[in-house]
Symmetry: C3
C-alpha cells in the first residue's frame, strides 16, 4: 500500500503521472491519496497533515510525500524507516512529526539511480525519483539498498507548550489552520483535561487567551461548545485543543495564523 | 467494497484517517470516494447525492456517509440494510433517499463498542466509529451483531410534486443545486414526458414557471435546448427535470435555491 | 486498470455514478482518477492533460475521457487502440495528443448498444455509454466487437513551432496554462537545449519574447531560475519549456492565454 501526500493539486497531470509510474512498476499495489491540497511549497503544513494520519495506516504502508520547493537543487532525497512504516520524499523536514513521535528512526539517502525513472527531469522528482522508488519498495526492495544511512537529516522544529516559572500559565501556539479555519494549538490533554461531563475543569478555574481575547467556551466536542458568533475551544481529533467558530473561520475572524500564541492561565 | 461520502473536504487529514482505519482492519478492501465536498453539515445535500448514485453500485457495497453536525451529542449511529447494500453513518436523515426508494429497510443502532476504535474521540466518529464498523462489515460482520434493530430512525422529508385540484397544474420544487448551479427539480418523466424528437410535449401546451419567469426552452438534452443567456429545462441524468443556463449558474442568475417552487401548467 | 479524466468536478454524483457502473460490471478492476477538474467543456485542456500522462501508465491501461459538450447530439462515441493502450470517449478531439504521438492508431465507433447501460440518458453518456464499455473492455472485450473502424475521426490541431525563413527565429505558442498559472509552450529541447550547468545556451545568444516582454531568466529547473517578481523559463516535466513566476500566476501577470505567441530569437 502506497499513500500520496503532495501540494500538486488535482487539476493537472502531476498526480496521475506519479500514479502511472508506480503502477507501471507494481500494477497491483493499492494507492491511497492522503491529500494533494497542501498549500504550495508549505512543508510545515504537509508535515502536520502527514503527522495527523500516518499512524492510522497499517504496518508496512509506504508514504510518499512530495512538498518540494527545492526540487532540482542539491537537497537530498530520502527513505525513512520508522514505526513499522516507510516514508519517501525530499529531505526538507516533511517527516518531522514522524521523527518526533517514533523511537526508532532510520533515514537513507536515495543514491542508487537504477531505481529512478530516466531521464530524471529537473522539475518533477515526484514522478522520476520518489514514485519509482516507492513502487520498488512496495515490491520488497529494502531501504538499505537505495543508499547509505544518514544522521544529519533535516527536521523542522515543532513548537512545544512552555510552562512559565510560577506554574500558573502555559504558553502554547497554533500548529496548523485547517481548511475550515479551525486553529489547531499544540495544547493537548496533558496541559488541559476536561471531564466528560463538564464544561470546565472542576479542579481549577482556567482561562484560555488567544489572539487578544479570552475564549469563553470550551468542551469536549463541537456540539457541546458551539455558540454562534462566539469562539470556542474543544479537544480535536488529532489530540490537540482547537479553537473554532460555528460555521465560520476562526482564523480569519480572530486574525490568527500558524505561530499565533495561546495562553492557558490557571487561577 | 466501501464507498465514502462526507463533508470533510480533501485538504485535511480527515479523509485519509478514515481510510487508514478501514485499511488497518481490512487491508484488501476497495475504497471508492463518492465525494468529500458535500457543503459543511448539509445533510440534505448529502442525502441527495448519495441517493443519486448508490444504485449504480453492485450488491454488497457498503456506503459510509458522514455529514454529522451532531457528532459527540446523543444522536445515534446506525447501520442500514436496504436494496442488497449496507449503509453506515449517523441517524440524522442522511439515508432518506434510501428509505424512500427501497422496499426492505432494516436499521440497526451501533451499540457494540468492541467494533469501534478506542479511545473514541468526541469529534471524529467518522474515524473512530463509522470507519471501523464499515471495515468489519466488509469482512463479513452482520448488521444484527452491532446492535438492536430500531424503527424510529430519522428521515428528512423529500418534497413530492403536488397536483392541484383542477388537474392542470403541478407544483414542484428544487431538490438540489449542483456545483454548476443547475437546479434539479422534483419533477420526473411522470409529470412531464417529452418525445425523443420534440421540443415540446405534443399532447398539450405546457408552461414551466420558475423563479418568477417562464422557462421557454426544454428538451431531452443540453445540446437540444441550450440558447446562450436563456434558461432551459432538460431531463437530467438523476431522473429529474433540471433548469440550467449555458455556461452559467442558473441558481445565481434566477435567484433560486433548494425549496424554490416550480410550476408546471397544462393548458 | 481504468483511468478517468473528466470535467465533472468531484462535488456531485457524476464521478461516483461512473465508478459504480464500472464496478458493477467488473468489481475487481482498479480505477485511477487522472483528474475531474478539466475546465467545463474544454476539450483542448482535456486533450493536453491526458497527453501529458497517459504514457506513464502500463500497457493495457484503459483511459476513459469524458469532456463532452456534444452529449446527446450526433457526435460519435469511440474506442481508440494506440500505444498498447485503449481510450474510450466522445469523438471530439479529446484524444488528439494520442493521435499525434502514436504510430499505430485504430479508432472504432461505438455502435453495439448491448454494451451500454439502459435506458441510455440523453445527458450522461459517461455513465451510460463510456463507463460500461470501458468496463467490458477491461474484462477482455475487443474494440473490434463494439463497432466498425473509422478513419474520419476528429482531431484538434496541436500548434507546432515554426522556423522563420532566415533561420534565426522560432515562433511558438502557449499550449496550456496549468492551475498555478504556469504557461506551457510548445517549445521543446529540440528548439532550445540548455546545458545542465548553464543559465544560457553557450552556443548562441538567445532571446525569449513573450507577451510583449523579454523573459530574462531561464534554466533547467525552478530553483535555478526563480527570481521573485521576474518571469522565468524552465524546461518543464511534460517536455516543454514553461514560463512561470515564483509564487504567482504568470498567465495573469503577463496577460497570457492559450495561443499566446512565444518568440525565440537567436542572434
Amino acid at each position: 500500500m502506497i499513500t500520496l501526500l503532495t501540494d500538486f493539486g488535482t487539476a493537472d497531470y502531476f498526480v496521475p503521472a506519479v500514479k502511472g509510474v508506480i503502477l507501471s512498476i507494481h500494477p497491483t499495489v493499492q494507492i491511497i491519496d492522503l491529500t494533494h491540497e497542501i498549500p504550495a511549497q508549505d512543508i510545515t503544513a504537509g508535515a502536520f497533515t502527514l503527522g495527523a494520519c500516518y499512524q492510522n495506516f497499517p504496518a508496512g504502508t509506504i508514504h510518499l510525500a512530495v512538498v518540494d520547493p527545492g526540487v532540482g537543487s542539491a537537497r537530498r532525497a530520502i527513505v525513512v524507516r520508522a514505526g513499522n512504516q516507510l516514508f519517501v520524499g525530499p529531505d526538507n523536514g516533511i517527516f518531522s512529526y514522524v521523527y518526533a513521535r517514533e523511537s526508532q528512526v532510520h533515514v537513507f539517502q536515495l543514491e542508487r539511480d537504477e531505481y529512478f525513472r530516466h531521464p530524471v527531469s529537473a522539475t518533477f522528482h515526484g514522478r522520476d525519483v520518489f514514485a519509482p522508488v516507492a513502487a520498488w519498495l512496495s515490491r520488497g526492495l529494502q531501504p538499505e539498498a537505495v543508499g547509505r544511512e544518514i544522521q544529519d537529516y533535516i527536521g523542522i522544529e515543532i513548537p512545544q507548550p512552555l510552562n512559565d516559572a510560577d506554574g500558573n500559565r502555559v504558553i502554547g501556539s497554533i500548529l496548523h489552520i485547517d481548511r475550515f479555519g479551525n486553529c489547531i494549538t499544540n495544547l493537548t490533554e496533558r496541559e488541559l483535561r476536561i471531564e466528560q461531563s463538564g464544561i470546565r475543569n472542576p479542579e481549577s478555574a482556567i482561562k484560555l487567551l488567544f489572539a487578544g481575547r479570552e475564549i469563553g467556551q470550551f468542551g469536549s466536542h463541537f456540539a457541546q461548545s458551539a455558540v454562534k458568533g462566539e469562539p470556542f475551544a474543544y479537544l480535536g481529533s488529532a489530540g490537540f485543543w482547537e479553537i473554532a467558530l460555528w460555521c465560520d473561520s476562526a482564523a480569519n475572524r480572530l486574525g490568527a495564523r500558524r505561530g499565533t500564541e495561546v495562553i492557558l492561565e490557571f487561577q
